[in-house]
Symmetry: C2
Subunit: 121 residues, 2 copies
């Protein structure tokens, strides 16, 4: 799963969590609240983005394929190549719903919505 | 990278960090300090285990293949199938060394030391 040249790019999960996320228009769309890992494989299932800003009752989360996050040094955050419309139309979940069905439904819906090639084939 | 039946097992990175790790003899060998993710793929490179107990100057860390961590409910922690000798002989790193060479040398040395089949082939 490395690139053709075998290059990797190590980033500790603790440093990812809390990082701001922007869309390509430069608008802040939230922060990475968590990264969902698959215990049965070496796969990163998706990044969990909170749009509310704070953890709280009723807050909804979005699942975004890990590979779509592009770090922008000048902004100090990740940029995702999605339009505001795409993001607004994306399925959202409560914190408990994220791990229902061991995250599989959430992961599949996310990759389908953002038209990202599944990594688990 | 899912199992034959397509099963996944979702676990948020934030819940993994801080979990205690035991060897098969039931001895506490440290805690998971972080999980190293590969930004260029969907791969989890390794879990970072701290043996010192607290983050501090001079603390050394070990890299353990993600797939070797087995959650034990009764202990409330992970169990790794390694002997105390294997763990003592494992390469250790400073926090900065863990991400040198984008984590590739550390990852490769870890999989080799614990004789775990590389996931990136």
């Amino acid at each position: 799963m490395t690139t053709v040249t075998g290059h990797t790019e190590a980033i500790p999960a603790s440093r990812v969590i809390g990082t701001k996320v922007y869309n390509t228009a430069g608008e802040s769309i939230g922060s990475i609240e968590d990264v969902m890992l698959d215990k049965t494989s070496n796969g990163i299932m998706f990044a969990v983005i909170g749009f509310g800003g704070f953890l709280g009752i009723g807050e909804r989360y979005h699942a975004i394929p890990w590979s779509t996050l592009d770090y922008d040094k000048s902004r100090g955050g990740y940029v995702v190549p999605f339009s505001t419309e795409q993001l607004k139309a994306a399925p959202s979940y409560s914190v408990n719903e994220l791990t229902e069905d061991d995250g599989q439904s959430v992961r599949d819906a996310s990759f389908q919505h953002y038209r990202v090639e599944p990594y688990w084939h």
